[in-house]
């Protein structure tokens, strides 16, 4: 892992188009501002992991089958 030290109001670039700004430091809390393109999803890591795991469980496996029953593309 790359480790850098930054101060309040300083920032980082991830690649050419993602900016990470250190806005405020209060004890053990840090406020961070992120500027990223629309295609980049920014989430807290724990939420990302919970939802990714739930999606993984929800994604259908081989037990679902067709076309025994009629399939119609919807909205």
């Amino acid at each position: 892992m790359l480790v850098l030290t930054r101060k309040k109001k300083q920032s980082l670039m991830l690649g050419d188009d993602i900016e990470v700004h250190i806005l405020e430091v209060n004890g053990d809390q840090v406020r961070i501002g992120i500027v990223a393109p629309d295609s980049v999803r920014v989430l807290r890591r724990e939420i990302y992991h919970d939802v990714a795991a739930a999606n993984q469980a929800a994604a259908v496996g081989s037990r679902v089958s067709g076309p025994a029953k009629k399939i119609t593309p919807g909205i």
Binding site: D38, A54, P73
Partner: protein, 166 residues
Amino acid sequence: MKLKSRHFGEIEVEDDKIIEFGQGMIGFPQAKRFCLLSQEGIAPYQWLHAVDQPDLAFLVAPQLLLYPQYELTLSDCEAARLRFSESDQAVVLLVVTLPADPKDATMNLLAPVVIHEAERLGAQVINERHGYTVRHRIQDEMRSQAKEGTSHAGANQEKEAVADAG
């Protein structure tokens, strides 16, 4: 175009039925185009099927039917990304997980799928202001709705539909 689904075989999907998910589904970043498939016997559930990934599909159902009292707060940023203006109506779907025993089916209230139908844009968003979880049992919900007398005629049919889909 032809969607060659590993689950349902070859399906013809018109271009205007495709919904763009610019960020994909969470944990599945490569799939960015989806379509909603209705299957006989599982209504009001539908399949949210990746157009470019033959084996990726999610069982979804309208939030209005599964959890009528659901509250969704869409950030300005997400609303803008989906090109919603004040008067636009969002289609809100909940992702359903169907374990071996359909009685244990859960719905993801934390991360609903929001679709702007007219723009053909969709996203899985994080709705974290209301204390919702990723695995909320559907049966518990049906039971508490029945107890409160807010149940509607469709509730039992929906449960049967879940069982049928499994």
